[in-house]
Amino acid sequence: MGLARKDLLRMQDMTADEIRLILDTAESMKQVAGRDIKKVPALRGKTLINLFYEASTRTRTSFEIAGKWLSADVINVSTSSSSVAKGESLKDTGLTLQAMHPDIVVLRHPASGAAEFLAKQLAASVINAGDGAHEHPSQALLDLFTIREKKGRLEGLKAAIVGDIAHSRVARSSIHGMRKVGMEVRVAGPRTMLPCFIDRLGVEVFTDLERAIADVDIIMMLRLQLERQQAGLFPSLREYSRLFGLTLPRLKGAKSDVLIMHPGPINRGVEIAPEVADGPYSLILNQVENGVAVRMALLYLLAGAPQAG
């Protein structure tokens, strides 16, 4: 029982059984959120450090709440107010933190592979909370949890992931995760935002939004990362929105029970119209709520794992 691994770095090397264990555990964790006393003693005496080199509201808060509800001590290190601002390297920051004996370090970093690098330095478990354009596994897991909760199953479902696939760690983690549990995955976006050879991950590629969403069960809209758009990948925001924005009229061509997801934060009126984001099929806030339960499951399964010796 349990995860036979120290770290959670990428969905690419998770097995379907591990994913199932995490989702099942998260289901039990969700019950704690519905109680008056939202705290269980499972991780008493464990220390969780949130080390965030990039801005984040929901992921950091969600890991913090998850840790606190499990009774772990949670410390947030944001880089602007720490020694990182003085030029300390990730390795030295890692070793410094290690000397304080944390049990879990949650890392968000702009460089792909940063979590793996840190995991090799530390005895503590490392959870990748987003490394560059590489992976964001806890987001993929909470998305799978939310889909399973609504649809009652995962296998055989069809999902379309829409937007800037090339720069999206959420897309990469979701593709791996969805494929492993037996879902069909499509990606759609402007050619300039679709990586070469993306089809090798076992996805169907579309450049026409309407065709891509016609018969899918889930539409996952990605945030247009305005901070990464200096490269001129599309002519104008308005054109992107006109071709790849999810609007009510466009949604008419989709299945009547289609579910809409978005990892947030959303650009209202760019990749998703406000009526759609706030509409009945939108799971955006369910995703946030479930994020806490899924992260509780991850913390329990990693920190609660039997220590060798």
């Binding site: 039990s28 003693p41 499972a42 464990k46 920190a303 609660g304 220590q307």
Partner: protein, 193 residues
């Protein structure tokens, strides 16, 4: 020579694994019925009574007790399910990471008379975890404990209010409770370690 040694070892193992049945189906049924009667007597009826079973066989026993209470008193007593994994005191110790399962209690336990139901009472550590867990769910008027088998060897100051059968055991022995709902057959066995 080596083969002979393993043969002897196998014989010993077979002997050690000998099972003795201490309750059969009728015995379990009588114990459940008696516990139900004692609950009604001790609480002077079934007002404000709720049953909470510990996963997983405690839940089956709680349902059976609820059926008996229905026959005795005509009342439908709510039954909830408690999973105490997150409250265990041995998490993270060598070799232990139990699966977390769901707690399902669809009613408020505030001001209720809660009867906690489990199959075997042994060290008392599970019951300690269950008590902590219940207190986090609300403030019951009182909590009582019903178990099918009390096998002794307490490590905490905990006792049961209702006991199906007291069974003196050694720590090397295991008590196996089999219930039709989980195991397809009713019975309580002692397995020598």
């Amino acid at each position: 020579m080596v083969r002979g040694f393993f043969y002897a070892l196998n014989l010993m193992a077979a002997e050690l694994n000998e099972k003795a049945q201490i309750l059969d189906q009728a015995g379990i049924q009588r114990a459940v019925t008696r516990i139900a009667h004692e609950i009604v007597e001790r609480n002077k009826g079934t007002n404000d009574l709720v049953l909470i079973g510990l996963r997983s066989r405690g839940v089956d026993l709680a349902r059976r007790i609820a059926q008996e209470l229905k026959i005795i008193d005509g009342a439908d007593i709510p039954v909830g399910t408690l999973d105490v994994t997150l409250y265990r005191d041995d998490l993270g110790r060598v070799g232990i990471q139990p699966e977390v399962r769901k707690t399902e209690i669809s009613f408020s336990i505030n001001e209720k008379r809660v009867v906690l139901v489990d199959d075997v009472l042994y060290t008392g550590r599970t019951i300690r975890a269950a008590l902590d867990s219940l207190i986090d769910l609300g403030r019951p008027r009182l909590i009582q404990l019903a178990v099918l088998v009390d096998r002794g060897h307490r490590e905490l100051p905990i006792r049961a209010d209702y006991v199906g059968k007291n069974v003196p055991t050694s720590r090397q022995e295991q008590v196996q409770v089999l219930l039709t709902e989980e195991d397809g057959v009713d019975g309580v066995l002692i397995v020598k370690g």
